[in-house]
Symmetry: none
Subunit: 234 residues, 4 copies
DNA sequence: TATGAATGAGCTTTCATTCAT
DNA sequence: TATGAATGAAAGCTCATTCAT
């Protein structure tokens, strides 16, 4: 596709895609006008249709790009599984393993929250579009299926190793924990909330591993504990 | 308001609200035409404006009604806290308390999932509309703040009693666990998933209490364990 | 028409006509809703159509009523001629006659301005409606023809008597002087102006008779002369 | 503004303005549909909104253009004052001055009637729109104020020179004589009338100067005098 | 390719009129 | 008669898409 374009054409196209991202972040794509995109890109109105057959098509392009971005590095959904693949090969004491799991989970979640922060508006937009855009719906569902399967298998492995509560169904647990991280981030960045990134990553990770039945040793006293101390004694 | 209308008027209005619900479930309210609503309700186009000053206003009405429905009974967001208020008054052994917490959490989550199942499409729609409808945004944010505070205070109490991991920040934990249940349900009912209600409720509840550091005794072997058994040995 | 109605019916109808007047005074009849009229009248929406086949019809009724009112007493258009009919029968010196003409003109104009003040909004509305309402156009044109003819004949008589400049064409003069009074009043009451009724009547009348070539003896120093004195010497 | 458009755009815009003029002449702007204008202009419906943000805005444009046209040359309202500015500098006998005043008044009125004849429908329309269009109302009122002041000051000067009846209040006289000419023209061209332009100009001018107390020497026997001769003896 | 004017289907809202009670 | 809900034909405005230059 890109190969059919001249250099100049490729640049114009890129400007349009970039502009579309910006515009979609600021207002729902239903409220985004082709005019807004071309203005943002600094190209003529008509040029949009030189590169895209319709407004829908640019949505698809942007949507897929964002999905891709969230998928690379730590996992797109829970921010955990992708990075954990292969972990079970290492062998040592349960405590040490738990600790290492926690560390990785923490790293993954930190990364995920950072990514999310950058793309929050767009992710929300994409998620929403999936509700009425068949193509995005499909992408979303595939992603989900994929991630679900990976989570399930990872957790199942850990169960086999006795690292994780065997009472849990790995399919449910994977979906639930992925949901936890995703929705926490979504809510925070969409509706606002008095949270900090590091504290969020630590708390989410702690909940994550404990939920599966692992124990986590004490860390430094969390940042915001002081505030809740008053409450505890009230 | 309803008192200003004749019986016939009240009926027509009700038909319109009901129709709006149906329509909003099937397509985004941006794609919902006033025509769709009146057709669904079986009334003339103009009659819509006899009862609502604008399309927006019926959204508000439906949105608030749904929010109300989800708020009654167990809590709207996490499906847990509302039902747990007052629990800390009872006194007995930690195990017994944990058990009782788990039971209540389970009951709350079961109820929540059932409610969600009934209103899934609409809830998704409302959630989405909140992104570009100021009024719904406000409702949503208020709900969230309210629920967040309740979760936080419940968890803080449990921490004070030594029932819950004191390392966690109750504000983060409350938001995260609420997100887990909400998003699990949302995803399941919106995008589909091979889950069962009872199993979902049990798994979510187990994750919920364990995440907070409580231990839960073994139950009957979960329904779907057989399936994953093969996996465990693979 | 009225005879086909019961007493109660006649009252309701009257209330509606009165309400229509009020409404038309406050906003252009195109902006007046049937709803406004029935609300003002304190009757049910549907009752309007019990008495009038359409919104247009009530306009006609109100319009004709107002036209009638302005026609009685001194003349509708110039505020002069009607009252002057028969004057030529009296015989005496030109000065005395001029004086009497002026007095009558003054009286007529005073009356006219007073009537106009009461009905200004409505008169403006009617005048405007005549532009696109055939029936009112006809009424207006007939009125005009009638008045024109009367003015013309009065002035022609005075010319025959040597009272009025024989150089003027009575048809043009009649139309012009009628226009002067009408438009002065219209502008004043519609767009506002720093005028007083008595001063206006005196000035208009003086202009009126002088325009026709009659001389008017000096009166008391006019009210607002002081202001213009400064100007005169500037 | 016009500079932002391509040549083609300028043409289309001009076609629309012209079409709007035509349409407004034939029916009240409330009855004028955007569709009528575009059809008259021979362009697509949507093109209207390429050049005007609303139906209202084209009214403003047309209204101001017409106001401008009537303002240039002799005065917009009375058709007199503008042309008379500076006259008082010349010095000679009262008769000669009166004569010159009359000549100028005549010239001004002739011009005014000619202009009015060309734009009659539109002027009526604009005048009417001013009743419910705030912007036009303002334009109208400003014009009026401006003209009123000029008339007043001119007449005041003449009074100081002893050329005009000092009994009159110049503010009233200015407004009244302006009204006379305007309304005579309006009525004639709107409702019809058996008048001729030259005769109208002469009669109006004679009335104008005589009203102010100036005397005008006899002219050639007026055109239509024959007709009224029969009357005079009747 | 790039441009921006041209197009018209489609949407919300209004409101005169009708009609069932 | 009185009532007020029901009706649906317009109308203004938007904006994705097309097209001529």
């Amino acid at each position: 596709m890109a190969s059919c374009l001249t250099e100049r054409g490729r640049q114009t196209r890129a400007k349009l895609v970039e502009a579309a991202r910006t515009v979609f972040e600021n207002c729902d794509f239903r409220d985004s006008r082709v005019r807004d995109i071309t203005k943002e890109a600094g190209v003529a109105y008509g040029s949009f249709y030189t590169y895209f057959p319709s407004k829908e098509s640019v949505v698809r392009e942007v949507g897929m790009a964002v999905a891709q971005e969230m998928m690379v590095g730590p996992d797109a959904e829970s921010g955990v599984e992708a990075d954990l693949v292969g972990m079970e090969l290492e062998e040592d004491s349960p405590q040490a393993r738990s600790r290492r799991v926690y560390d990785r989970v923490l790293r993954a979640n930190r990364f995920y929250l950072e990514s999310f922060a950058r793309n929050a508006r767009l992710l929300a937009a994409i998620d929403q579009m999936a509700l009425y855009n068949d193509e995005l719906f499909q992408i979303r569902q595939d992603m989900r299926r994929d991630i679900g399967e990976r989570s399930r298998s990872t957790i199942a492995h850990w169960q086999a190793e006795g690292l994780v509560d065997s009472e849990l169904d790995p399919a449910y647990a994977g979906a639930a924990l992925g949901s936890m991280v995703y929705r926490f981030a979504y809510t925070w960045f969409t509706f606002g909330g008095d949270f900090e990134l590091e504290a969020a990553a630590r708390n989410l990770s702690r909940l994550w591993v404990q939920a599966l039945g692992m124990t986590v040793e004490t860390e430094l006293p969390p940042t915001r504990h002081a505030t809740s101390a008053a409450e505890r004694c009230a």
